[in-house]
């Protein structure tokens, strides 16, 4: 909810006119340049993480001691364990070295390597967020196309209206409502769907297990989709409106193509380009939504892990999961840039 709703800023820089054939080798160079930029950003994330977790006000160990009775000796032990008693420069190089070797430290809460915990929780998050993203993107693009093609019509106004509402709804509140209505039941309506965890306590085996997991995924997935798909709808709609206002769509009609042919062959493919790119670029928003949804429904994924790290607070775990999440987002953004360039011939020749 923190990025402009519909502004799809195209990275298109058209090449100048001329009589020479355009160079197509540029794509590899472009990809390498972007990869270099991504590596630099990732390096900055690692450095920033280090400083944020150590230099900002709030002694981490003292914060750890909030609500817990720890003797000064125990505090000192903790400080030593976290390496906080070494000179800052040493700490920095230790940190960077460890991170690059994928040694993200040991969790205070679980007393296990952070990397292991991440490995365990990665699957459920991929399942939930991946499914949610696929559904949200498909639904958003389909509905956005229909709404934009009949601009101003009833479907359009209905779609835009509901999108604005869903955009304004806090994810966690929607989760609470859905949980209440469909999970627990309210008033005379009984609750039907499970709303805690990924599997029932007495989980069955084989195919029945898959069904069990799937039934547990319904509410969290629904919540996630409801919040993020509105964005894709609005972007696709405005993209399509932008394309339709161009002359080439009128030319296509003038050539004798049917309405749906004009839409399918000219308007939608052109409108999809910035939309799909934007989906990748806004992945940070999906991540935020996933964290909230996993927390509410106690879905054992990375988001839930991150939340646990925050509430304990377990700084090593927090640090590790934060870096992983951020690096993943940076990689997705870079992919978006490169894929867009490959797909859009205008950018390719730049």
């Amino acid at each position: 909810m923190t990025a402009p709703l519909e502004a799809a800023e195209p990275a298109v820089q058209a090449a100048g006119p001329g009589d020479e054939r355009p160079a197509r080798r540029g794509t590899l160079q472009y990809a390498l340049a972007k990869a270099g930029g991504a590596l630099f950003s990732i390096a900055m994330v690692i450095v920033a993480t280090f400083f944020v977790f150590r230099l900002l006000p709030g002694d981490p160990v003292r914060n750890l001691a909030q609500g817990r009775n720890m003797t000064p000796a125990q505090l000192d032990l903790e400080r030593h364990r976290l390496g906080l008693d070494k000179p800052l420069i040493n700490q920095f190089f230790d940190f960077v070295g460890n991170t690059l070797r994928l040694d993200l430290g040991t969790s205070y809460e679980y007393k296990r390597p952070v990397l292991d915990l991440i490995g365990e929780r990665f699957g459920p998050t991929l399942l939930l967020a991946g499914t949610g993203l696929v559904i949200a993107v498909s639904l958003g693009i389909w509905q956005g196309t229909r709404a934009g093609w009949r601009h101003g019509g009833r479907f359009d106004r209905f779609s835009t209206g509901t999108s604005l509402v869903l955009w304004s709804v806090p994810t966690f509140w929607l989760g609470l409502l859905l949980m209440m209505v469909f999970g627990v039941g309210v008033g005379p309506i009984p609750g039907v769907l499970p709303f805690r965890g990924i599997e029932s306590v007495d989980a069955p085996d084989g195919f029945a297990y898959l069904l069990d997991v799937a039934s547990h995924m319904v509410l969290p997935c629904l919540t996630l989709v409801a919040v993020i798909y509105a964005q894709y709808l609005l972007v696709m709609r405005s993209s399509l409106l932008e394309e339709v206002s161009q002359d080439y769509v009128t030319v296509a009609r003038a050539k004798g193509l049917r309405d749906d042919e004009v839409r399918r062959r000219h308007a939608v493919p052109n409108a999809l380009l910035p939309t799909v790119t934007l989906v990748f670029m806004r992945i940070g928003f999906v991540v935020g939504g996933a964290v909230t949804v996993e927390t509410i429904y106690t879905w054992p994924g990375l988001g839930q892990l991150f939340y646990e790290a925050i509430s304990v607070p377990d700084f090593t775990l927090m640090q590790g999961t934060f870096m992983l999440i951020t690096v993943a987002v940076i990689i997705m953004n870079t992919l978006a840039d490169v894929v867009y360039r490959v797909l859009d011939p205008r950018v390719r020749s730049a």
Binding site: Y248, V251, A254, K255, G256, L257, R258, P269, P345
Partner: protein, 328 residues
């Protein structure tokens, strides 16, 4: 005007847009005729309704536009055609050349594919034959044939305009509607493109309707000229005569705004016209031009103007014309 069966005949065509604030009459009762192989120029400022009229010819206006009157293309009324017939007529009988400088070409498709598209849509050629036709067309408009694989942004404005022309010729139509085909181009390129249009039209015997605000361009390319103001035709006649000896004060002003190249006298005295075109929702009574007219009379504010004869094969919607002709 001859009694021959015209290729295109407009009978009292009007276009009204419906918007929230009311109705906007963009075109009000236009009647024109175009013979086979002839070229008609339609001139006017922006807002005169000329582009709207052009779009109406192939029913390309948005849904909220109401079109009245008849548009007869080879005897068939375009406005009452079934959609299937309309789509068959589009491009195959009559095609349009837009301003190529704008996004008249799909930016992510190759130019050759776009030229070939109408051939495939109308089933006039298989892909292989279409490719050959594209090569042929590119040669006709003076572009190297390998350009078929280029994307629009790789071409200059003039080259894109040539592609638009090649595209319009693809299905060998009988009529081409050119909407401001040279407006955004440099003067030199403009001259080249105009020459190209003239040659192709003459060579293939295609009828042409050209729309522009530049009277000198139209006078050069077209046989007949119609000047539009506030949705109506205010003057009509052979283009050279209308350009050099306009009968309607608006046409005179329009002609004077574009000095003839090579004529020092016209360069020295550019005649601008004060004021703006009227708001179509608040048209002045009587002659729509009278508030800006340098020779307006009292009666112009209330008189119903129509196109009165103003010489052999000429008409003009001005009171002065009626008086002069009446007197002689």
């Amino acid at each position: 005007m001859s009694d021959r069966m015209s290729l295109l005949q407009l009978d009292d065509v009007s276009v009204t847009y419906r918007i929230a604030a009311g109705e906007v009459p963009a075109v009000r009762g236009v009647s024109l005729a175009l013979d086979s192989g002839a070229a008609l120029g339609v001139a006017g400022e922006s807002g005169s309704g000329k582009s709207t009229l052009a779009m109406a010819l192939l029913r390309l206006l948005p849904r909220d536009a109401r079109v009245g009157g008849r548009i007869l293309l080879d005897g068939e009324d375009v406005l009452t055609m079934k959609w299937g017939r309309m789509r068959a007529v589009r491009w195959a009988e009559a095609s349009i050349v837009f301003q190529g400088a704008q996004h008249g070409l799909n930016p992510v498709r190759r130019v050759g594919d776009q030229i070939a598209e109408p051939l495939l849509v109308h089933g006039l050629a298989k892909p292989e034959a279409a490719r050959r036709r594209v090569t042929e067309l590119l040669e006709q408009v003076g572009l190297p044939t390998w350009r078929a694989r280029s994307y629009p942004h790789e071409l200059s404005g003039g080259q894109r305009q040539r592609v638009m022309i090649a595209m319009a010729l693809a299905c060998s139509p009988r009529l081409i509607i050119a909407d401001e085909p040279t407006t955004a181009l440099d003067v030199m390129v403009q001259a080249q493109v105009l020459t190209l249009i003239k040659e192709l039209v003459a060579e293939h015997g295609i009828s042409l309707i050209m729309i522009s605000h530049d009277l000198s361009v139209l006078a050069d390319v077209c046989d007949q000229l119609a000047v539009m103001y506030a949705g109506r035709v205010v003057e009509h006649g052979p283009s050279a005569e209308v350009f050099h000896d306009a009968k309607h004060p608006y046409s005179r002003a329009l002609a004077a705004a574009f000095p003839t190249v090579g004529d020092p006298a016209s360069r020295m005295a550019p005649q601008g016209l004060g004021g703006d075109p009227p708001d179509p929702m608040r048209l002045p009574g009587g002659c729509a031009f009278h508030p800006r007219c340098p020779v307006a009379l009292d009666e112009c504010a209330s008189l119903d103007v129509e196109l009165w004869p103003a010489g052999p094969g000429r008409t003009a919607a001005c009171v002065h014309v009626r008086e002069k002709e009446g007197a002689s």
